[in-house]
Amino acid sequence: MTVVLAFGVVAWAQWVHASALGAHHESSGGRLFHWVRDGSLTLLPAFLAVGGGIRTAARLVSRRGAKEALVPSSLAIAALFGVLLVPLVAAHSAVDGLLGGDGGLGTIRSPPGAGYIAAGGSGGLESATGFWGQLGHGARDALVATPVALVLMLVTLSVIAWRGLDLQAPARASTRTSSSVSTVVPGVATSGLTKRELLTYSGGGAAALALSSTGLIVLSTRQAHAAEAGPTTPWLSENIELFMNDGIINMIEDTPVYFWGWGFRSGGVDESEALNTPGPVLWTNHGETVTLDVTNNLAEDHSFFIEGVVDTGAIAPGETREVSFPSPGAGTYLYQDGLNRPVNRTLGLNGVLIVMPADGSLVAHPDLDPEHWTFVTQWVWIFNEIDPAYNARAQAGLPIDADEFVQNFLPRYFTLNGRMGSLASHEETAPEIVVRDTVDNPALIRVVNAGVAMHAPHYHGNHVFPLLHNAVIPDTIMWKDTLRLMPEDRIDVFLPYTIPPNAVHFPPPEEGSAFLRELHEREMEGRWPMHCHVEMSQVAAGGLYPQGLLTDWKMEL
């Protein structure tokens, strides 16, 4: 959408300039170059407009479905884009002038060989100078561009909707209290707008590919460095195809390790060749039927299995199996290859299914009192461990005995959504992991252990409430700072996002020494780790503390 918006509008603007205003008289090569350059320059505001517009529209129509969201989304994107264009056009003029080398406005430089083509005959705003003149020019061009942006967005969104993308989230955002809580935050895995929608809306083309990889990840090349990992684990709810793939993923210190994992296809995004581990987050509402196709691209039998919910049995190499099952009760589930448990799961064939309450309320389970347990954002954290010796055996096609595996498994890497340490702890590399919000906006974190080791997730900054254990409300809901997370456990954790009550000052005063100011400039405050307290999990390759199973959560101040 970003690409469509940017290049579409720039093409329109150029046509207007050339035909109606007669500003630029360029060769076709020059015009093409101009279009590509300006289109590219416009990508950023277009991207911001798409993201911001959708977010704004989603707030406005958070309780409505796809068709209602279409028009407001388009309007919001177009309006935002228009506003962003004002300064850009002004800057564009200056850039043209600079490149033209003659200090004049409305002059562009075409590709080498084409020579200079001076602008001629332009008047009025086109050659206006000075701050106000430039601003006027910008405003006019923005006005010209906005209707086109609107049309483009309407068409694009319609196409997306027509192609079967459900713009309506499985669970709609709702507010706990009338209006004090912002409902949705696209990009942070909340309800309302989903990861998938973000992918669909903001991505388009190359951007979508970058967004779609999960943690460790990888891509069509089947090999990538963990440091290049894409930022999100996609959330899928309809028209899902999963592909069991294999390939090499480099660990944080560059050791290449063979994995089994997942490609996917959904909502017009084709990542069928990818290798993601964990797999995409699947989500649905209680009461709905989940349907997906699972293709085994590996050399041996595998299955699609959710304990107590669905078991395909062996899917042969090359086979595609349609899997359909009624959604279980609200909660969090682990999907995995059920063959040779826990081996195949731990080697990468795992992922999470989320079931939201049927009424779309923002609680982990309908029996939880919404007055106390309504969340604002929700997140998925999947833990796993890697012992490369077993990955190598799988790569060599050697059998792995499950009992022997559990007895002798010596993990060297520990991952959260496929990421390690610093790559899991910064929003730049792990935007779907690092929980972020402002005070008093509780987050629901669905913590899942896909590995074979016990973990002890420990939260700094706030105690948490484990609301659901394996989709069941416990007899008593404790208030904990450390949890016991056994293999295959799913604990839905409510992080209250309260100001830390033991702080004498919050935030602490920043005046004082240069060191204090330095820490303040780093925006250190309001950031706490969550890490596993079985401390072997905090290292990578036997050392490299803290490059293991940890992340941060952030209270934006």
């Binding site: 009550p501 033991n502 000052h505 820490l519 250190m524 036997g542 490059q547």
Partner: protein, 380 residues
Amino acid sequence: MSGKRDDESGGDDDHGSGGGGGGHEDFTNPLFFWETTPVEGSPETPGKVAPDKEFEMNFFNRDLEMPDGREVEFWGFEDRINRAEEDVIRPSSLIRVTEGDIVHVTLKPSKRQHTIHLHGIEIDTHNDGVGHTSFEVTGSYTYQFRAGAPFRPMEGGQRQTRGAGTYLYHCHVNTTLHFQMGMYGGLIIDPIEGPGTAFHKGPRYEPEQERAWGCGDVDPVWHELDHAAGMKGGDAGLNDFNPVYFDITGKFQPMKYGRTDPDAVIEDPTIAAEGDVGGLPILVRYANTSYTRQRVTFHGIADGSLAVEIIASDGRPFDNMAPNFATPIQLDGSIDVATAERYDFMVTPLRKGTSLVTIENLHWISGERLGVVNTTVTGR
């Protein structure tokens, strides 16, 4: 068992001299946190106010003789202000405060990078003692917090009356190694009623029979490692933990044939507890300070000689006061506990006699029983 003193901090090899932001300079990979982790000699405490309680935690390293005769080096924190015993070795000195107290815990002088993380205390990042989210200390730093943890801070300096319970503190630099080396201790917050009451308006216990069980483990191979092992880029084997010795608050389970002797019992009166039948119950503040899954079993429950109620966990009472809706849990024999969790057991002897309490240490992956620690509860 004997302690040996060596005040020249650390017999371990030197690394990063610290001070002025040098950090762990062995590293060049930009991916690593400590490229950006500030290391400050003696940073000031922002907004320092007059404390109600002060602790001065000095780094030490001392050798301790294990049950099989092997000398193993431990590191820890020794409180030089409220110190009750001559040579603290394991665990580190206790921090005990009252709800509402402004508490200063001063880490000093550590020479090498260390911090104090107050485990379970909800605190600003600046005082949280985590190297990679704040800073590491080589000289001294005073961690400041207010004890007691209501859902939100109270206005006007009122004493806070929630959050009494059992916590830990530990070094959060190269935690994998430093915690295992023994750089942890207990942190207890008493309610305003004082010792003898578990939490504000909560159940009473016999103060003489309050026990703190920090149940740990020791892999002697790790205790030979360098201070910065695990932070220098090499494979230090910190993913491979094979504990041999197991203790309750520094009292080790006797050994037999190279393993813990399952028939032996720790009878040290600071660990084993006694309570009058019909009298006030015993409060056991239990923490898993090992890197194993621990299964705590009160054998007296099965034969009717004890009743055990879990009344709190992780410093949060089961008092059913919003937003905390937890209510006490009657223990039906045993409970499995992960590393760094705490449970407060209210133990009521129902008849005279001694019954066994076992803490089994189960491997974090295989579940294999690596060692067992026994002590007793007696009704009189």
